[in-house]
Symmetry: C2
Subunit: 124 residues, 2 copies
């Protein structure tokens, strides 16, 4: 099997603490997938950028990259900016098999998990 | 038991489609908790505001309000703005029992659900 990388893509913010939940997800994912290269990239304010993270994956020998937008909702970043950025990255790395998953806010399982959590927390 | 309201609080955006996942969570929650008044409020760009949503709950006869920040990460909105806003709302409605849950990004169960979803989607 060809070597895989997973790039988590988050919005970013000026406050360094902002990244904490995404760093936890990255760690959990790396534990579950020790065979894959797992990177965390940001749209704004934080580094690495998505381009830099994918370049890192290519340098690490990845042949397949799965890009996971950790955005709850579809704003301009996902609808306009991400397709342009992905197009650019494909041109930079034509040898990479690059796949973009739905955003977490478009995943019924995630929305159900959030609903279930709210139900438990609102009742307590 | 006193009447309960649950207010989901999201960031908001200019694009109306942005609210879609939060509207789904609101609906699922209302189905699971038909006894509770469920409202969705926004920090910016969209209405109702948090103040307006809580006023709606009070007008609807709620005695207890659980406020759930649907934010993945702690930015200035949650760390600085929300406590100020909640203080103001408490002054406006001293009769309400108002409780604020952790943000979804601070809930280990949510982060685990996201990790599990990424694992399934990255492998496919």
């Amino acid at each position: 099997m060809s070597r895989q990388a997973i790039v988590l893509f988050a919005h970013g913010a000026r406050d360094p603490e902002w990244a904490a939940p995404f760093i936890i997800i990255k760690r959990q994912l790396q534990v579950a997938r020790p065979d894959a290269q797992v990177e965390l990239a940001f749209q704004d304010f934080m580094t690495p950028t998505l381009e830099a993270a994918v370049a890192q994956c290519a340098a690490g020998g990845a042949q397949r990259v799965v890009l996971v937008p950790l955005f709850m909702a579809q704003g301009g970043h996902l609808k306009q900016d991400l397709p342009l950025l992905v197009g650019k990255i494909r041109e930079q790395h034509p040898q990479l098999e690059l796949r973009v998953t739905p955003a977490i806010g478009d995943a019924p399982e995630i929305l159900q998990a959030i609903t279930d959590w709210v139900i438990r927390n609102a009742a307590a």
